[in-house]
């Protein structure tokens, strides 16, 4: 079904499921109850990482042809990470449109597929937080710092974790 009804039914279903059976590590809801295409999620910084203890807010925006095209995810909280653009947009391979990428960095199997759900996307983001990919960084400076100036990187992330706690 190419229409947006399929997208909204599928998103409503996922929302119901997540309400009934919450998944450890994040919570999700709608930004505005009348719009099922915009979600607000809070990701809890994974244990044993620099982000531990942080509560990071992000907005997921779904296209009308979801699940055939991926949503975009943007952190509202401050996020210092090699794979997050300075404006908060998350850059991971599964959020890229389907098909092979022309630069050959990613395999088709690592890109968007309609089988992905809110849950699988957020779990990918949580795994991104624990193991950044510095080969094709979205935030070059953060990637450089992560590689070369670990102390500085740790301090910046620590600050963002504290700020996210204060915002609660």
């Amino acid at each position: 079904m190419a229409s947006s009804t399929q997208a909204s039914l599928l998103l409503q279903k996922q929302l119901r499921d997540l309400m009934k059976h919450p998944v450890e590590g994040f919570s999700a809801g709608l930004v505005d109850d009348s719009n099922v295409f915009e979600w607000s999620v809070t990701i809890i910084g994974p244990q044993d990482t620099l982000y531990e203890g942080g509560y990071f807010n992000a907005i997921m925006t779904f296209p009308l042809d979801y699940p055939n095209n991926p949503p975009t995810v943007r952190f509202k909280s401050e996020m210092w990470h090699p794979n997050v653009y300075p404006d908060g947009k998350v850059c991971i391979s599964i959020l890229h449109p389907p098909g092979d990428d022309p630069n050959g960095y990613e395999l088709a199997s690592e890109r968007w597929s309609p089988v992905h759900t809110v849950e699988s996307i957020i779990l990918s983001i949580i795994s991104m937080l624990s193991s950044p990919n510095d080969e094709s960084p979205a935030n070059v400076e953060a990637a450089k710092e992560w590689r070369e100036n670990w102390d500085q990187f740790r301090k910046k992330v620590g600050r963002s974790v504290r700020r996210s706690q204060e915002m609660l």
Partner: protein, 534 residues
């Protein structure tokens, strides 16, 4: 001219060389072997034939079909699988065979081709992996891997992928861990007829686009492809649509200029580089905000536009506050004059001067390059009107079959080509370093062609004019005969009446010079072009 013999020669060459090249009569070759039959043109023709081959849509489809059948027959796989395999190896049949027989298993793994398809589980209700709806198994479809999704979700998946362009040809199962290829059969079962059409089109086009030896003709609206055999110094290809292009860079044919120079020249024309040169030559940056400023009038006291509003002296670019009586007042700047004498400003001034010169030089070449293109367009339009209507009228007037008048078309074609050549000499000339005199001489020699074009062109324009006058004569002969009255009816013109052009054209009030073939008015007895006395 002895056209019967020509025809024989032409058909001989057809038999001797590539036969599918001449499978239909639309080939450009008849244009060449029409009248200028000589040993030279014969060898030119055969050389051309071996270099490339123009393919029409039917031929491309036929070849694609043959390749698919061949691979599917030899490897005993389905046609759809053969398609996927061929596409993966860029339609190189030999490569497919080599790889397949070297290691079938790894090839199958790479392209996602399972030997044994996995059946969808045989239960009454199944859950779709995309929309998570539980549906009867009859609503489920799966590729060879058995990962099943409902028809609606498949539709969305395939539609989205076809929307993304030719990439849909490499579609795989939606399950991220599975790389099984989605074949044409699945598309046929699921997609709308419009999307199927698009998919087939992409598949057809991939035969040309993925193949290193075949390229689309870049001519506007042309659907032909060109297969190129020999990579030598001559990359010029002329498609049946009359578009003449370079096979290597697919820009229009540009010999003797090499592809690199052409690219450089075209980038230079389109890019901002010349704007930058202009800015450099004619403006100075505001000393404060660095925006370029062009001084078009007024005194040296400049005020930058808001929000900067910086006031400065145009000559020394220093703040206006430091100016006044002691620096020489409003109309001159002593600090500038002094510094100039000391040589401080020399370098920037020199650079500006050089930029200005180089800009003028570029404009010189560009204008000529561009105007030759517009002349060429005009010639193409003339050629077209000649082909479509005038030749017919001319043949009616002089009662000669149109086939005898083909040389006129050839000549127009020649003019078009000369214009093209001439046009590129300007790109060539622009990049000749001043030191290389030999090159410069060759360049100037080439440009002599300009004169040749003019001569030929004049000749034909006169011929056309004669034809048009002739038409007037015919049209007006019933009502008035003023034109013929104006013509002198001396004995000489009577003699000239019988003069013919090489192909036997008799133009009543013109005669054609024996030496240079220029069409002279009947009133003169000396050739206006070469001064040859009759």
């Amino acid at each position: 001219m002895d056209s019967d013999e020509d025809m024989l020669d032409a058909s001989d060459s057809e038999l001797m060389y590539d036969d599918d090249l001449y499978s239909d009569d639309g080939c450009g070759s008849d244009k060449i072997d029409g009248d200028y039959e000589s040993e030279d043109s014969q060898s030119f023709l055969t050389r051309r034939d071996q270099r490339y081959n123009i393919l029409k849509e039917e031929e491309i489809r036929q070849r694609q079909e043959e390749d698919i059948s061949k691979v599917s027959g030899i490897l005993s796989i389905s046609r759809d699988a053969a398609c996927i395999l061929l596409r993966h190896y860029k339609w190189n049949v030999t490569k497919v065979h080599d790889e397949w027989f070297a290691n079938e298993e790894s090839v199958r793994k790479d392209i996602g081709l399972l030997e044994e398809p996995v059946e969808i589980p045989n239960s009454t209700e199944l859950k779709c992996g995309i929309c998570f709806e539980a549906l009867p198994s009859s609503n489920m479809r799966a590729a060879a891997c058995g990962h099943h999704y409902c028809i609606e979700c498949w539709k969305g998946y395939i539609v989205a992928s076809i929307k993304d362009g030719p990439i849909c040809l490499g579609l795989r199962c939606p399950e991220p861990s599975c790389n099984v290829a989605i074949d044409h059969d699945m598309i046929k079962k699921i997609a709308s007829s419009e999307d199927q059409e698009k998919y087939s089109r992409f598949l057809y086009r991939s035969y040309v686009e993925d193949n290193r030896k075949i390229k689309w003709c870049p001519g506007p609206g042309c659907e032909n492809a060109v297969e190129f055999f020999l990579a030598d110094s001559n990359n010029d290809v002329m498609c049946n649509c009359a578009h003449w292009f370079c096979w290597n860079c697919t820009e229009e044919a540009h010999r003797p200029v090499d592809c690199e120079t052409v690219t450089k020249w075209l980038i230079k024309n389109s890019a901002e580089s010349e704007n930058m040169n202009w800015i450099l030559a004619n403006s100075k940056p505001c000393p404060k905000c660095k925006r370029p400023i062009e001084k078009n009038q007024g005194c040296m006291h400049m005020t930058c536009t808001p929000p900067c509003r910086f006031e400065f002296c145009w000559l020394c670019l220093d703040s206006w506050q430091s100016h006044g009586e002691r620096t020489g007042g409003f109309y001159s700047c002593n600090s500038y004059e002094r510094a100039k004498k000391e040589g401080v400003y020399d370098e920037t001034e020199k650079r500006r001067e050089m930029a200005k010169n180089s800009l003028e030089r570029y404009m010189h070449y560009y204008e000529r390059w561009a105007s030759n293109q517009s002349s060429r367009q005009k010639a193409i339009a003339d050629l077209h009107s000649m082909e479509t209507e005038k030749i017919q009228k001319l043949s009616e007037i002089i009662r000669e079959p149109e086939t005898q008048l083909r040389f006129i078309i050839d000549a127009w074609q020649q003019i078009v080509d000369c214009r093209r050549l001439l046009r590129w000499t300007y790109a060539y000339g622009f990049y000749i370093p001043d030191k290389e005199t030999a090159k410069k001489q060759l360049f100037e020699y080439l440009q002599v062609l300009l004169c040749l074009v003019c001569v030929t062109k004049n000749y034909f324009e006169n011929l056309v004019r004669a034809l048009e006058n002739g038409l007037e004569d015919v049209d007006s002969s019933s009502s008035q005969t003023s034109t013929s009255k104006n013509e002198p009816t001396k004995g000489k013109s009577g003699k000239n009446k019988n003069r013919t052009t090489p192909a036997g054209v008799t133009v009543e009030d013109h005669w054609s010079c024996d030496r240079c073939t220029y069409a002279n008015p009947a009133s003169s007895d000396r050739c206006q072009m070469c001064q040859h006395q009759v």
